[in-house]
């Protein structure tokens, strides 16, 4: 009885499928997904449908996650190279700003949701995923601890030649995390316009200034 019903339902289902979506084959889940996305989302506030557009990095990493496989090495390399090219180095040559301002930015998770206003200063969302300063015990664990970030890397004078490599890497990582790890989960703060150059200088100071509580 049950079997008879389910067999009888197959032609119905096929008719229903072809009626409401175009080109949805037997198991073309990619097309079905694309159709569902196109039909399901609406712009709200500053969160327009442009938010759904994926670059190569997001498209490839999403597909790899669905497949449950790591990215092909060549594809990963290409993504990292393309993202490294987007890094804008400090226009005034200064890598470090004020760590106190950096702490405020690291604390704030505000910005760019549909309930936020256009043009408002965004937060860095840093504590959501990282331990950073020791005083803040409400920190997330999706990213590694950044406590003693500069100290552990031997940065005693950020302006010294010996510090250059780690200072530049940290800037690049904050500007565009995917330059060094194709499918990193960390937002691309500079590249995607979450933080501006000045804000990134402040976060840099939080991580690398020997006077920052992070390095005490």
């Amino acid at each position: 009885m049950k079997k008879a019903i389910s067999f009888a339902m197959i032609p119905l289902a096929v008719v229903a499928l072809s009626a409401c979506t175009s080109g949805m084959g037997g198991a073309n889940y990619e097309q079905a997904h694309a159709d569902v996305v196109a039909a399901s989302f609406q712009a709200k506030g500053i969160a327009t449908l442009d938010y759904l557009k994926q670059d190569d990095a997001n498209r490839e990493c999403s597909a790899a996650d669905v497949a449950g496989k790591p990215l092909d090495e060549k594809v990963a390399k290409a993504i990292e190279e393309a993202n490294l090219k987007t890094v804008k180095w400090p226009s005034d040559g200064k890598f470090l700003g004020d760590w106190k301002e950096g702490e405020k930015i690291a604390q704030s998770g505000r910005g760019l949701t549909w309930s936020d206003k256009a043009g408002a200063a965004n937060g860095g969302n840093c504590y959501n995923c990282h331990m950073i300063g020791k005083e803040e015990i409400s920190f997330g664990n999706l990213g590694p601890s950044l406590y003693n970030y500069g100290k552990l890397r031997g940065v005693t004078d950020p302006n010294a030649a010996a510090s250059k490599a780690i200072v530049e890497y940290t800037w690049g990582k904050l500007w565009n995390s995917r330059a060094y790890n194709a499918c990193s989960q960390m937002p691309r703060a500079g590249h995607k316009g979450i933080l501006n150059e000045k804000q990134i200088q402040h976060v840099m100071a939080l991580l690398l200034d020997p006077a920052s509580p992070v390095n005490k």
């Binding site: 569902v36 039909a39 989302f41 759904l52 997330g140 937002p187 995607k192």
Partner: protein
């Protein structure tokens, strides 16, 4: 009954701050939440929504002056026990996979004669009008599956397809922050600040993840259904808004629900 719930509400804020202080000290919010869930075991404010929902389920309403008592939630007209923990599912009469809320709207349209477009317009506003009514009815019907284990079907091709679509939505990175659902809900033991995050790619355990919704949220004194939960997740994910009852929300419900098969529902749950 109502009075005892109201009294419980008075102590709730005190319990909550105690719970949160303890949680901070212990380094996990989960224990604090577990504590006030326990203290409220026989006086969950969600009961107010449940009672209102029961009245609305039985009340003759709408242009057809009918109740919802003959609503078929997938197990036959009027059968509520265990219906919620098998949703979303494929319904032959609509040719669609539907979750509890879209199915209830379907019944309000077909049985009671309400206007579908108007109900979908009202539904996202959970604090008033038919939006608030839908939250109450959803809470009431879901609660009839309290203690049942999730048992979603994948027998129909459309259910399988919605699972696959939901999986692709779950891992879909986008927006200014490149976030996907999986950014937060793809690993075991993850936390945002002190908030524990269930791993929704598998059964996260009894009463955790989908098995903890609908839930009363203490912090804003609101009853949230899965539709509202997903809406606010997408807001924080920096995505555009998923339309109420859209296939994206239902596909995610199928993906998370099937993954959670075997988990016990503690509906109506209580949340921070």
């Amino acid at each position: 009954m109502k009075k005892s719930v109201a009294n419980r509400l008075l102590v709730l804020s005190a319990v909550m701050s105690m719970g949160m202080t303890a949680a901070y000290a212990q380094g996990t919010a989960a224990e604090g939440i577990a504590k006030y869930r326990e203290m409220l075991a026989d006086g969950n404010p969600a009961e107010l929504f449940e009672m209102k929902g029961e009245e609305l389920w039985k009340q003759k309403r709408g242009p057809k002056n009918a109740s919802l008592e003959q609503c078929d939630l997938g197990k036959g007209p009027g059968v509520m026990a265990g219906a919620f923990t098998e949703l979303p599912r494929y319904f032959q009469d609509t040719g669609r996979v539907m979750d509890l809320e879209t199915r209830l709207i379907h019944c309000m349209v077909t049985l009671q004669g309400f206007d579908s477009a108007e109900l979908y317009k009202a539904a996202p506003t959970i604090g008033k009008g038919e939006g608030a009514n839908l939250v109450a009815i959803t809470t009431y019907v879901a609660t009839q599956s309290k203690g049942k284990r999730f048992n979603l079907s994948q027998a129909h091709a459309k259910e399988k397809e919605m699972y696959e679509v939901g999986k692709r939505l779950f891992f879909q990175r986008g927006g200014p922050h490149d976030f996907a659902c999986s950014s937060c809900h793809g690993v075991d033991g993850g936390r945002i600040r002190l908030q524990d995050l269930p791993n929704l790619t598998k059964n996260p355990g009894d009463g955790i993840g989908v098995a903890a919704w609908p839930a009363y949220r203490v912090s804003n004194a609101q009853m949230w259904t899965m539709q509202k939960r997903l809406n606010d997740c997408y807001r924080q994910q920096r995505f555009p808004e998923p339309k109420f009852g859209s296939d994206a929300t239902i596909a995610l419900g199928v993906y998370m629900g099937v993954n959670a098969n075997g988990a016990e529902s503690i509906v109506p749950a209580i949340k921070r």
